[in-house]
Symmetry: D2
């Protein structure tokens, strides 16, 4: 129905997260009607992004070095961050969500995925080897610390997140470092009556 | 459009919680098509409910005395419940939700509502006077205890629940009893990325 | 968790259409807290409903006779209704929805269900035999007419409604009466972009 | 929280239809993790789109000329399309939705918007002058026809679409051409009981 170029771009946008073919079509017509100037800005921003944004060698978060000398992200290179505590997250946007709370001042590690099962091919897709290397020898990756004293498993409390958490607990236990999980409980706006038992149990245990 | 009797019953069912006129109409036709026997069972159950179900003089929960001598609900009269801890809930179904978790073994108090504002006429609608009497003189209301050592404010983390919690904290503070709230955090199935900052903060503070 | 009487009534309300156990529990506590007077009104309304509401011998709609002599519903006994046209609906609330539009002035027949498949046991659950008898000999059931000139199949455009419509079309075709279906098209508030092809096709064919 | 380049691209994606800042952030990290090759393909597709896709001088639909000589879109230049009937749509994706049904073989006109009110500044934003010119002198814009015999107003049955339809009806009436609207009715999957009166009325009137 659509011309080849339009259809091709619909297909490319359909691969974006949360985007289906109808939304992709709306994106394409949005672009067609975009001014020359705005289109150029978008294309250049994407090109620059790919060119300038680097991956931090310690935490795997994405960052934009301000000088050629900058090798690590703002968080890993910040002398005021607590280098004895490491928070493991699934993806970059989870790290940003935590930073927004301003309640955490330690380091991060972006796992790059979660486990839907404990099959070998799944485990190989996340950065488990990289994580172990960084916990064991942080200074090899640019972090000066006397070893971590707490590892926070900040995975989502979804089934896949739970599987990943259980896997990491078992895997990291031999290191003898304190391992914690985020607190469960009633979220803002939640209702006791509609909470699942597990959440309500945690809310009772975590009262203060 | 409907005959007077049908319309009247639609109006009565429309007053039930969560029921609008379309659902009420479906209820009425459900009843019309119900067998003689099932209708009788429903009507008798409602009559018996109103006749047999009593309000516990201490906690205001509803209960069904098994003998004429039974004056208090199963929880208040259970010798194994911890009588040093009192959990304040908005309504009976919240109490049931907590009981299902089997994580709480103290007493309850059903407040009978929540505050949308601190206006006098709102405050008079909930059982605040009754609550204070029971905390100050539990034995006057059938509970033998040396005074409470913890009061849990188990209101919903909604704006109205928060207003009620703040009001109760201020009101009960002079009694010198430890006052706690349910823990906040990520609910089962939640996602960090979509959690509000407040919930995520609590999840970090409550990690373990 | 709930006392036997409360639990029993929760179970009974859970059988009402669209009601689950949590909503049923809210209904029960609503009833417990209902005044004596309002409870009596509800119980009497239900009793009277079962006693006074009759089934019309022609259309199977429910009605409330105003005198003992009234044998048929308001619609079937109305001399101004067009007795040459019959509209077949699944249930009483569909009939009411159509009456509210004031666009239809013929008679109705309430089928009492819809077909999820063409299995014999499904077909026996709806009033197909009764329908054929009334179409063939309306005067036997209190309707004076020279035979119907149009039968409207006003089933829902859902898969089950479609199955029922197809079944009725095949079954009623030999009678030689004009059979129609409700028009398909875009509903108020709908959008072309999100309409399925079938709906959009009908909207084009039905333009005017 | 995000680095300047990431934040800038989040802002640009947030202007895309249906996209909020959270989804925009996910898009950016999707792009960061996209391979060199796939990124290049996306950027080139967008550039080519802007370069190759043209606006048809008659209908204002977007098309991709296969040769330099091609001046009009596939539909307008198709000798088999019925040039006596013109369908007015709000936007390009509505045109595609209609084409998919294969039920319409006339010409189109893309209005480029809809009216939320009849204010002058709103009316000036849609292609009403262009529409009148094309209806009055189709051959000036590349369409050889003896004048249109039907104009279909295929706007959405939303409040804004209705306002636009009423405006166009009044404006085009003096031309003396038959003006039609898409048929209203129950959509596939809809239910009589939950349909609004207007939709149900149309379904009855449009029965067949």
């Amino acid at each position: 129905m659509y011309s080849p170029l339009i259809q091709k771009l619909i297909d490319l946008f359909s691969k974006f997260p949360t985007v289906g073919p109808r939304t992709a079509a709306r994106f394409v017509f949005y672009l067609i009607n975009l001014s020359e100037k705005d289109t150029k800005e978008l294309l250049e921003s994407i090109s620059k992004l790919k060119e300038k944004v680097k991956t931090c060698p310690f935490c795997f978060n994405k960052f934009e070095p301000k000088t050629q000398e900058e090798k690590m992200c703002d968080i890993c290179s910040d002398p005021n961050r607590d280098k004895k505590i490491l928070c493991i997250v699934e993806k970059e946007t989870d790290l940003s969500a935590i930073e927004k709370t301003k309640k955490y001042n330690g380091l991060y590690f972006v796992l790059g995925g979660r486990l839907s099962s404990l099959k070998k091919e799944n485990i190989e897709k996340i950065r488990i080897k990289e994580l172990e290397e960084r916990i064991n020898n942080p200074s090899d990756f640019g972090i000066q610390t006397d070893n971590f004293q707490e590892i926070i498993l900040a995975l989502n409390p979804t089934p896949e997140g739970e599987t990943t958490t259980l896997f990491l607990e078992r895997r990291l236990k031999p290191l003898g470092i304190k391992i914690t999980r985020l607190g469960r409980g009633l979220p803002v706006g939640g209702e006791l009556e509609y909470a699942d038992e597990e959440t309500l149990k945690s809310a009772f245990e975590g009262r203060k």
